[in-house]
Symmetry: C2
Subunit: 286 residues, 2 copies
């Protein structure tokens, strides 16, 4: 997916939200540099690729900062604290797989890239609303049969916190043929190998990292070993907007699981803002 | 009030929201020019002064467009359509002046600069919430006694639509010593002379324009005749954020009436986002 003009204020906002993590005397210089870069940006880049450009500018001035380390930890801790009740939702459901998929999407609300404030209560409310939401256009049954058929599944994680819900879904999948992927280096609150270890994902399936600090999956920048796994997989499960924005034009059997958080993605998918999506690009863009 | 770093995404967003009014082939060029200008902006400018810079860039490329002419008309029409019920709220109130002041602030929600979507229902809900809101820190009684004492009052309008509520308040003020001011040229949805005529403000008090297309009151850029009226007034009633942002540092007997719509103004006033303010700068910034 290309970047659109209306993404520019959002990039500027991401930069502003990252400023508190760096010395105040650098703020103005950093932000002027970000705006100058945005004035000359290449709109053929996907938004996550452009987000990396923005964070690289900040790092150029302020050093190699992990801006959202506390947010990642807090998200994991919050979801782990409520793990038993979330697992019970799945176990007690008429259709545990469907409920696990819905919860995995509910977990996708925890995204500091698109929304910068969240509370325990907001997360809880959001989970309840996802469980009772309309998934009429979703392809959860298709996803289940694809998982059964597949010989090698690559599950692309998105954020910390959310990764706990991903684990609950992975627990219902054939573990020996499933590989879970995280980002290679810190970017926003995207899940890393240490998050996969913290939440115990590494205990149940093979976990790899993609070698990049892009908040999405830009194949040409991923590590050779990640690309090999991607190429070998006959089913890719892609979580979140960042992975969608970077993989929506890739010719591959990819199921996208996400909540639509911005008008640009809503337009690209032909679905309303706030919708929950489970499906291939063709299934979903009607 | 100076412009802050976090105002930059907001300026970028104002430019994006104005794009649909101009030819699509100009969009990218305009927005790149806006971002380049933001990268070199003078932060000593107030936000409304900077907003004019942004709109001037768009006009440089696309011609002298009145971006929000439809929005202004619709706002006036909506409020006029419900005028009788709003007037009844005031007439039937225990304290009609207080209710008129609250309604005048409720009308301040109609601001396409800070928020770009609004519906009839949202406006109605907002009005109800303002009427029942906490005005504990407000200085409505002080404002009333200042109005009684004053020999010449200048009432600085803000937006179209809102101007109907301003009229309901002006109806309770001594008309012979009150002058109402609008902007001199179109900017966002700020009220102009034609709006004052449409809603009948010109039938009840003298109405002047400030000679500028800045969404605020930058005295050094206003017309000499406006400045004369401003200098002669011993009480200024200033509606909305734009007037606050441009007059907050002016040494004058100014009562600010506004809803705080952005974190920067909230910080400047030392009040929470969403608060309703009636008071002088000193009264309000505690």
């Amino acid at each position: 997916m290309n970047t659109y003009l209306e993404c520019l204020p959002c990039f500027a906002n991401q930069a502003v939200k990252a400023l508190p993590a760096i010395e105040e005397e650098l703020h103005e210089k950093v932000l002027r540099d970000v705006m100058a870069t945005l004035s000359e940006m290449d709109f053929a880049m996907s938004p996550p690729r452009m987000a990396k450009v923005i964070f690289d500018i900040i790092k150029k001035h302020a050093g190699d900062i992990d801006f959202y380390i506390d947010a990642r930890k807090k998200s994991n801790e919050y979801v782990l604290r409520h793990l038993d009740s979330f697992r019970a939702e799945i176990t007690n459901a008429d259709n545990p797989f469907e409920t696990a998929v819905k919860l995995a999407i509910a977990g996708n609300v925890i995204d500091f890239g698109a929304k910068h404030d969240f509370s325990d209560e907001q997360i809880h409310d959001n989970i309840e609303s996802v469980l009772s939401a309309d998934f009429a256009d979703s392809h959860i049954d298709d996803l289940r049969s694809e998982i059964e058929k597949a010989e090698k599944i690559l599950y692309l994680g998105d954020n910390a916190g959310e990764i706990v819900f991903d684990k609950l879904l992975v627990e219902l999948m054939p573990r020996e043929k499933t590989v879970f992927a995280v980002r290679g280096k810190p970017v926003i609150n995207d899940a890393l190998m240490e998050d996969a270890q913290t939440v115990g994902m590494t205990d149940i399936v093979e976990v790899i990292d993609n070698g990049t600090d892009i908040p999405g999956t830009v194949l040409e920048e991923c590590s050779p070993s990640f690309r090999k796994t991607f190429d070998e997989a006959d089913l890719v499960i892609s979580k979140g907007q960042g992975n969608y924005e970077t993989l929506s034009d890739v010719d591959k059997n990819i199921f996208f699981l996400l909540k639509i958080k911005c008008p640009v993605v809503a337009r690209d998918l032909g679905r309303p803002l706030g919708s929950f999506v489970v499906g291939r690009k063709l299934d979903t863009s009607r």
